[in-house]
Symmetry: D2
Subunit: 379 residues, 4 copies
Amino acid sequence: MASTFGNTLRVTIFGQSHSEAIGCVIEGLPSGAPVDEDALTAFMARRAPGQNAWSTPRKEADAVHIVSGLNGRGETCGAPLAALIYNTNTRSGDYDLLRRVPRPGHADFAANSKWHGAQDVPGGGHFSARLTAPLCVAGGIALQLLGRRGVRIAAHVAQVGSERDVPFDAVRNSEESAAHLAEQMRALATADSGAFPTISAKAGTRMAASIDEVRKKGDSIGGIVECVATGLPAGVGSPRYDGIQGTIARIVFGIPAVKGLEFGAGFSVAELLGSQNNDPFEMRDGSVVPMSNNAGGSLGGISNGAPVLFRMAVKPTPSIALPQQSVDLVEGTNSTLEVRGRHDPCVAPRAVPVAEAAMAVALLDCMLASTTDRWDDRL
Amino acid sequence: MASTFGNTLRVTIFGQSHSEAIGCVIEGLPSGAPVDEDALTAFMARRAPGQNAWSTPRKEADAVHIVSGLNGRGETCGAPLAALIYNTNTRSGDYDLLRRVPRPGHADFAANSKWHGAQDVPGGGHFSARLTAPLCVAGGIALQLLGRRGVRIAAHVAQVGSERDVPFDAVRNSEESAAHLAEQMRALATADSGAFPTISAKAGTRMAASIDEVRKKGDSIGGIVECVATGLPAGVGSPRYDGIQGTIARIVFGIPAVKGLEFGAGFSVAELLGSQNNDPFEMRDGSVVPMSNNAGGSLGGISNGAPVLFRMAVKPTPSIALPQQSVDLVEGTNSTLEVRGRHDPCVAPRAVPVAEAAMAVALLDCMLASTTDRWDDRL
Amino acid sequence: MASTFGNTLRVTIFGQSHSEAIGCVIEGLPSGAPVDEDALTAFMARRAPGQNAWSTPRKEADAVHIVSGLNGRGETCGAPLAALIYNTNTRSGDYDLLRRVPRPGHADFAANSKWHGAQDVPGGGHFSARLTAPLCVAGGIALQLLGRRGVRIAAHVAQVGSERDVPFDAVRNSEESAAHLAEQMRALATADSGAFPTISAKAGTRMAASIDEVRKKGDSIGGIVECVATGLPAGVGSPRYDGIQGTIARIVFGIPAVKGLEFGAGFSVAELLGSQNNDPFEMRDGSVVPMSNNAGGSLGGISNGAPVLFRMAVKPTPSIALPQQSVDLVEGTNSTLEVRGRHDPCVAPRAVPVAEAAMAVALLDCMLASTTDRWDDRL
Amino acid sequence: MASTFGNTLRVTIFGQSHSEAIGCVIEGLPSGAPVDEDALTAFMARRAPGQNAWSTPRKEADAVHIVSGLNGRGETCGAPLAALIYNTNTRSGDYDLLRRVPRPGHADFAANSKWHGAQDVPGGGHFSARLTAPLCVAGGIALQLLGRRGVRIAAHVAQVGSERDVPFDAVRNSEESAAHLAEQMRALATADSGAFPTISAKAGTRMAASIDEVRKKGDSIGGIVECVATGLPAGVGSPRYDGIQGTIARIVFGIPAVKGLEFGAGFSVAELLGSQNNDPFEMRDGSVVPMSNNAGGSLGGISNGAPVLFRMAVKPTPSIALPQQSVDLVEGTNSTLEVRGRHDPCVAPRAVPVAEAAMAVALLDCMLASTTDRWDDRL
């Protein structure tokens, strides 16, 4: 079931880049939770294309139509919540050649090998990054529920090419770093919607310049998005395959262009000793607190009370204007391709809210699943 | 459902480090496939502890008892295959203190927060790395089926601390690199079981020395395991959440100690241009072939005919003999802990067959799911 | 996940009686299958309300909007197929009283106990029989695919009150009965859309009269729907919980008003001897054929080559105009209720295509799952 | 996934009649629940064969070995609970002929059509009624948890041939009937283990005599088992496909020999008017109570506070000593078969605890799922 994820909270994504609509169905939302559609619209706007120099000129309002799942008071009613986003700005003519000449870096050839020509080609079909919009619908709603339980989530572009942003202050786990991290998150949340989503404005300026430079050359560039969640209590998650890491991973690797995911110290653990990597515990105000956070908030799949922290690597947008070598599937010959159409020169900035959505849906799923952890009076 | 993974091929893992047995149930194996129990035993031996200087002195034969799922000819019979490994060498006395003083880097505190003391503590309970043995049972069987379809899988320790092995020749995708890669894989497969699992024997010697050094200091060290699969035809997998990457990710992040996963060019995509990262296509012997393999064999979740390549980062074993700061959960005070017991000073070498098992189960699951891709005469 | 069913073919239903739209998402359809939207419209028309004396006067065109999942040639494209039916004729005012006085025989009180007032009340919300429309969308598409593989499905009203129709000739399994059954099915398929869906026109006339009689009294009446499928080869299905019977049962018991389900000889097996109930085998034209069909086409969850046959009991519509005793949830007192609004006096006739849809989706799911039964050259 | 059921509580069954062991894995049990192994043994004894005149002479102790999932105090520990029952008394020689001559009424031919000879034939393999033992393990544990929350479950043989037992007093829903029902359930629970499981001892005597009579003739006979649960609060369950009815149905239709299932008034609803079938509500001691129980305790898939009541029809044991017509699959000719071996002449008595197990697992699953119904302070 390729387009569904989650266990207690289950999200099914549907749609193709140029189909009549894209959308999602969310099952398992507890009833009685108010859904603020204005806040959802604002969250969606952060992912929407056409806003600035570093994103595709394809403009889509990405207006969300919730067609079921709410009661008359705008609360979840216990039934599945279905939401649609209509595709209004499609130019299928741009894509006709792609049926026979697969674009390097895209799923065209792989999909053709799987579906023998039946796949919907225009705009990348079901593979389009546009399908992250329904994920953001689910994530935007999950963020609202989590927010009322004190869980905050933020992401930023940590790297584009060789330019790096200041990281989240989430590796130390002192009161001082907690305050600093909260400040970083607040700044990101309240930034101007046109601003480049970095903690350091200077880093953002440099990244935007890098992106503009590759765009002018008809090229694209990769990046890294870092995402953090605070306020998740210890004890949420599950051992092994549906833990915090696994639940996030399943969603994140469903985001087009993602080629890597790491938690906490991530790949740098290869060079650490146990005495360096282990996060010691201390008592703080009567509570057990990890003193550092190389674990990224998850041990054995279960939250340990520290911020949940992941970084995901997004490859350079495969659609580039430069000529590339490909093949003509009809002729069986080599061929040269120049991809036309409207494309982001760098995926990372628009992937920022997508990372937050992935984190939010995953954590809410884990929190809901945890209600049956313990045989007590509630059961 | 924390201990289950897979869709068409579904594996359920059970057991605790010191329970009577650990094991797995595998559903969805096609009937009529011969299972070579000797080959399975040989595969299990590669993960088994107590073999050499760099692994825990706990000795477990890890003998696999298949109690159901085979017919009288030793073939899969269509019913679920259940396998047990009895725990024969348990020393629970080592772990009593851990009920009140959680080990840094372990799931002790997280599990206690989740289950309020009901968790099975000895040996890490269900969180133990010992639970990778049932994954290897499933993987060992999947490897046999895949092997008969021409899919080969191998892994090696790519890095321990600052020591690095030669990488798989799987980024280029020429005939020459294919031959070279096949040779690398063959060498790993036929190496002496006591050898350090690296492509370069010299790198292995250096890594073993590094591990021995940290062991003597009562410390541990992290590493990276690289895994490759060849022979998978293009078109296997699914878009989005159950694709090649996502299916592998869900299993890999269920392996204790894994903190990062990347495919193909992985995190280095952040520094690449699209014109560098895209893998061009060419015709070779009448077939479409990607000329390089930054994608790691998967585009949009679907195989593109190139080798599937992932690397996973494993943290240093959290159990170290050095004193560490922790807390006493009963007294509510800070406390110092020295973890006794028998532990690997580096997880990476024994994680090599585990990575292969994860790859095998994931790819077989994807292959089985692909039988319904196309509405043709078989349906 | 209350609103999802199926394994290899997975259907998610959404919507409430008075939400903006109802619909479904279908995952797992093989790619390249043509979807005939006209045939689907015709199938939907058989369930649509407002057509005749025995159904609710609420008129809904039930026009199906497929918003994703097809390629430009009208074939399935491998991506999830999402379909919407907009709710155009809602009169929520009819239902305001029901918030405090639950209707006997309806889910009002049960839903209020579950969701504490957050449920969507108007029209029965997510519990409405209207939600069988999206099931019919999935079923209508499944019927098209099955039809191209020689599987035919038909249903009729077998009983209303004490009036009974001629049963399907599906218990004997001779060539003669096969021809007779085919004729019965053809007659049902080609009947005038206004006709009462019975094999015997006379029985239909009597049933329609019975229904009209209870309607005039402000009452309602129950019934039984019988459904048959022919052409399913032996060997489709699975042992135990996802077999032919279980897969059908899970869908059928999700149809509002269903209180019973039986296969083949059904409840009458209680009075049979093994020597009477067992279906002997014989060779016929070189094939093994069961000589009778008390099994209803399924043994151990797997098809045996005989017609699949089930009967489902549907209770009388709970909404009746007669005064009924209930309670006032706000006042905590007994209360009397007369249900107004537009309601079918008998559910059975409109449940006929719903039964066919349930059979079709279940059998297609089982057929698709069977592609991995056997380890052979296709795998 | 044919051998798995449940959502929040998930049970996977494995084993064949003559494999080394049969068993189950139970995931999703809340931690900290004490498991009384003696009580489980006593529950298993009610299903075990070889006890009396009306069951198979095959004797199996059916001793349950819980190999994982408990902590040192005998409580659930949060990890999957795996249990094995070793097959000690297998006589495979009895079954050799069945490879070529399928037994009428058995899954032999259907399984052979599915698995092309790879299925495990002896004793019916995975189709054996023996596989209800692991279901009883899961059910026996679920019963213990439910019992501590005031949910009581009982079943009896309601019919064998033309002999009928007194029904449960669960259709009326008065205080008087509640007391009567409680008495009926208590009597069943405390009956001598050798007694025929009926409410009326006389009916049991007549049924036992009927069974003995058909046994002597080498024949078998069918029956009906009725099962009831009291104490389930209103509001448990889900709309549509995973409701009380659907969850029970999925398990019940996985029990070999079941050909029908009905809830409350069941198939008799066909002859009822809405004014007869609807269960009116009244206030009783400040609570809303349905005054009758034609619904069988479930409306729209959700409990309404009345007893949950189902009946399941079990066919006569297909294995009979009388000669039956079958075919020789090797020769392709008609053939006559006399089934030897040890078989129950009537499945119904031993299906009584199996029905209770199905009810228990289903209701516990629904109760656990209901913890996330409502967005409140627990979430």
